[in-house]
C-alpha cells in the first residue's frame, strides 16, 4: 500500500504551513517520514529525498538523525496522554531531552526546563518540574509537550493534530500559545490537522492532501477564498460554520475516500468529483498553476473551472 505517493513540497524558514486532509490522506505519514520515524516492517520510504537546511535527511546515519530529531526538528503528537512516560516526572523527561541535544550541566538543564515550562505559561514552573504527567490536565500536558519540543530551539516544529484531543476552549489557548511562540522565535511550524478552521487562524500557507497526494497548495487567504481543486471546494462546502446560519443542506462530497491498496486510476478524486470528465480517468493530474500566482492544484480542469461561480444547490451530492 502506498500511503504517500509522490509528494513534493518546499517550506521556508519560519513559515507556518498547514497540512490538511481527512484520515488516510497521508498527512501524518508525510510528517513521520520527515522525522524518519517509519521503520520496517511497518513501512518504508521507497524513493525520494528530504532536504533540510542543505542536508538530505534520508541519507544521514541514524546517529546524526537522532541529533536532528528533537534538536533541529521537533514533533508533538495528538495524544498528550500517551506521549509522556507516566513513570518519570515531567522535569526528568524535559531535562533528558535538553541534555541529549545541548551540552549543559544537569543544573543548567533544569533551569532551561523550568524556563521552557514558563514559556508555555505553566504557573510555578520550577515546582511543577517534579510533578508526574498524571498530575497535569490534558491541556497542560500538551503545553508540556510543546515546551519539550521547543526546549532546544528547533528550526522546524511538526505538530500532528496537537489539539484534536482537547476541548475547544483549551484548543484556543494552545493555538494562541503556539502562534505566539512561533512568531517570537521564528520557528517554522508544520501543522497537520483535519480541521480547516484551526489552520485558517494559524497558517500562512496550506497544502490539502487527498489519498496520499497533494491536491492543492496555496496561501491561506487564496485557498479558502478561491479553492481551485474540486476536493478543496467540496471540503469547504461540507463544513458547518459557526458564523453562518444556513438551514439548507450542506454541499457534501459524495462517497468515501478510496482504498489506497487499490486506488482509482487517473485522478484519485474522480469517483467523488462533481466535474469528472474522460481525461480524469486516464491520467493523474500534476500540480499546475491555476491562474493565481500563489496557488497550484492537481486538477485537469483547474484553469477551466471557476468554482466560485457554481451554484452549490445545483450540484448537491448525495
Amino acid at each position: 500500500m502506498r500511503a504517500v505517493d509522490g509528494v513534493s513540497f518546499d517550506m521556508m524558514a519560519g513559515e507556518r504551513r498547514g497540512v490538511v486532509g481527512e484520515s488516510g490522506s497521508g498527512k501524518s505519514v508525510t510528517a513521520m517520514s520527515i522525522m524518519r520515524l517509519i521503520e520496517p516492517p511497518a513501512g518504508e520510504i521507497v524513493t525520494g529525498t528530504i532536504e533540510f537546511q542543505g542536508q538530505n535527511l534520508l541519507a544521514l546515519p541514524e546517529d546524526d538523525m537522532q541529533d536532528v530529531r528533537g534538536g533541529r526538528i521537533a514533533m508533538i503528537f495528538q495524544d498528550p496522554m500517551t506521549s509522556l512516560n507516566p513513570v518519570y516526572t515531567v522535569g526528568d523527561q524535559l531535562i533528558e531531552t535538553i541534555m541529549l541535544h545541548q551540552h549543559v550541566s544537569k543544573h543548567d538543564a533544569r533551569r532551561i526546563a523550568a524556563d521552557a515550562l514558563g514559556d508555555v505559561q505553566i504557573p510555578e514552573p520550577m515546582a511543577r518540574l517534579d510533578d508526574y504527567p498524571h498530575q497535569f490536565s490534558g491541556g497542560m500536558r500538551q503545553r508540556v509537550m510543546i515546551a519539550m519540543g521547543l526546549s532546544c530551539n528547533p528550526d522546524l516544529l511538526i505538530a500532528d493534530e496537537p489539539t484534536t484531543a482537547l476541548d475547544v476552549t483549551t484548543q484556543a489557548q494552545i493555538m494562541d500559545l503556539m502562534l505566539k511562540l512561533a512568531e517570537d522565535r521564528g520557528t517554522a511550524v508544520m501543522l497537520i490537522t483535519h480541521d480547516l478552521g484551526v489552520v485558517a487562524g494559524f497558517c500562512d500557507t496550506i497544502q490539502v492532501m487527498y489519498a496520499g497526494g497533494i491536491v492543492e497548495y496555496g496561501n491561506a487567504t487564496d485557498l479558502f477564498g478561491n479553492p481551485q481543486h474540486p476536493y478543496t471546494w467540496g471540503l469547504l462546502g461540507s463544513m458547518t460554520r459557526l458564523d453562518e446560519s444556513h438551514t439548507e443542506r450542506l454541499h457534501s462530497v459524495r462517497g468515501a475516500p478510496p482504498s489506497l491498496i487499490n486506488p482509482p486510476l487517473g485522478c484519485r478524486f474522480n469517483p467523488r468529483c462533481d466535474f469528472v470528465q474522460d481525461i480524469c480517468h486516464d491520467s493523474y493530474p500534476a500540480l499546475r498553476e491555476s491562474g493565481r500566482e500563489s496557488q497550484i492544484a492537481a486538477c485537469h480542469l483547474a484553469t477551466e473551472l471557476d468554482l466560485n461561480t457554481i451554484d452549490v444547490t445545483g450540484v448537491v451530492g448525495s
Binding site: S23, Q171, A172, Q173, D176, G197, L242, A256
Partner: protein, 358 residues
C-alpha cells in the same frame, strides 16, 4: 422577565403543553466514589448532572453543547434511563397508543421496567463511535432488526423486509444485510446505527455526538441525512455535541452546559449572535472559523485554566473561577438561577450582557 424554572414541580396528567414532547425537570445524576478492598464503601459522589431542566418541542432539534465533563452525555443517558437518575423528573408525551394502559404523559425517571420497555419504542439513541456501537459479531440484518425482535414486531420475513426498507431510507444498499460492520466505512456504519434507531418509529432520537468521529466530507453526508429524516418522519432530536459549528447548522434551539448545569438556553441564532452568558461567549469565541481574514479580525476570549473537577465543583456559580466578569462576594456566594432574560432566551448569570461575536 425573571421567571425561574422551578425544579421538581410535578404536573398532573395533561399538564404538558401539547407541542412539548419531553420535559426534563431538575434532573440530577450522581456517581458514587467507592473505595475498599473487600466490600466497597461509598466515600463520596461526583455530581455529573446537577439539576437541569428544559423542554423539547415536537419536531424541533435541541442542541446540547458543552465541553468534556459538562455532563451532557450523562444527562441524555438519564433521560433514556440508560443510567438511573438520582433525582428529578422526565415527562414524556407519548405519540403512539402501544396498546397498553399508559397515561398520555408518562414520567420516565421513576417508570417501572415494563413501562420503560414500552417507552423505548418512542425514544432511541445514535452513538458517537460508529465502531463501538455495532456488535462486531452480528450481521447488519440482525443489528437493525434487534429492536423489532425485542419488541416482537412482525414475523422473520416481515422484519427482513423492514430492515431492507430502513437501509434504503438511510442510503445503504438493501443487499448488504448479510455483511458485518467491519466491512463498512465509518459513515456507512453510522448510517446503520441510524437505521437501528429508526426501526421502531420513535418520536425522539438522542444523537450523542453522531458526527464527531467522522471525516468532514462524511460528516456533511450524515448531517444531510439527519435533516432529511427529520423532515420526512417528523422526528424530534436531542443533538449532543461539542462541535458548536455543527450544532448551529442542525439545531433550532441550543442549550449550553458547564459542569453539570445549564448556563444558557436560547434560539439558535440568538445563541450564536447574541450570547448572554460569559461562558457561552468564551466558548463561541474559541471555535475556529475556516476563513483566514475573519480569523485575523476576531477577538478571542481565552479562559484561564481548565474545567474544575466535577468531583469538587466551585461553590455558587460554577464558572466563577474562570469568568472574566467575576465579581467577588457575589458570584462565589450566591448561585445564579437560570432566568428568562428575553423571550425564549435564558441565562444563569448575575451579570448577563449581550455580547457581539462578530
Amino acid at each position: 422577565m425573571t421567571d425561574v424554572i422551578q425544579p421538581a414541580t410535578i404536573p398532573g396528567v395533561g399538564d404538558l403543553p401539547s407541542d412539548v414532547l419531553i420535559r426534563v425537570d431538575g434532573l440530577v445524576k450522581e456517581f458514587p466514589i467507592k473505595r475498599g478492598v473487600f466490600f466497597k464503601k461509598q466515600i463520596g459522589a461526583v455530581q455529573a448532572v446537577s439539576g437541569i431542566s428544559f423542554e423539547i418541542k415536537s419536531g424541533e432539534t435541541l442542541g446540547l453543547v458543552g465541553e468534556s465533563g459538562s455532563g451532557k452525555s450523562t444527562a441524555a443517558r438519564c433521560i433514556l434511563r440508560l443510567l438511573e437518575p438520582t433525582a428529578g423528573n422526565v415527562y414524556f408525551q407519548k405519540t403512539q397508543d402501544h396498546g397498553a394502559d399508559l397515561p398520555p404523559i408518562v414520567e420516565i425517571a421513576h417508570a417501572d421496567k415494563q413501562t420503560m420497555r414500552i417507552l423505548r419504542e418512542e425514544m432511541q439513541i445514535v452513538f458517537q463511535d460508529p465502531f463501538a456501537s455495532l456488535n462486531p459479531r452480528m450481521t447488519v440484518a440482525s443489528i437493525v432488526s434487534e429492536p423489532l425482535i425485542v419488541h416482537g414486531v412482525g414475523s422473520a420475513e416481515e422484519r427482513l423486509e423492514k430492515v431492507k426498507d430502513l437501509l434504503r431510507v438511510v442510503g445503504l444498499s438493501p443487499e448488504h444485510t448479510n455483511r458485518y460492520p467491519h466491512e463498512f466505512s465509518g459513515g456507512q456504519r453510522q448510517r446503520i446505527g441510524i437505521a437501528r434507531a429508526l426501526a421502531l418509529n420513535p418520536a425522539l432520537i438522542v444523537l450523542d455526538e453522531p458526527v464527531s468521529a467522522l471525516d468532514v466530507s462524511i460528516q456533511a453526508q450524515v448531517l444531510n441525512l439527519l435533516a432529511d429524516l427529520q423532515d420526512e418522519l417528523g422526528l424530534t432530536y436531542l443533538f449532543i455535541a461539542h462541535d458548536l459549528s455543527v450544532v448551529r447548522h442542525i439545531s433550532d434551539r441550543v442549550a449550553v452546559m458547564y459542569l453539570g448545569k445549564l448556563v444558557e438556553v436560547a434560539d439558535r441564532d440568538d445563541m450564536y449572535e447574541r450570547p448572554m452568558h460569559p461562558y457561552s461567549h468564551a466558548l463561541l469565541s474559541a471555535v475556529p472559523i475556516p476563513d483566514p481574514e475573519l480569523e485575523l479580525k476576531r477577538k478571542r476570549i481565552l479562559l484561564e485554566g481548565d474545567i474544575p473537577s466535577p468531583a469538587n465543583p466551585p461553590a455558587a456559580c460554577r464558572f466563577h473561577t474562570r469568568c472574566p466578569k467575576f465579581v467577588e462576594g457575589h458570584c462565589d456566594t450566591e448561585e445564579p438561577m437560570l432566568r428568562e432574560l428575553e423571550p425564549g432566551h435564558w441565562a444563569a448569570c448575575h451579570y448577563p450582557e449581550v455580547q457581539q461575536l462578530f
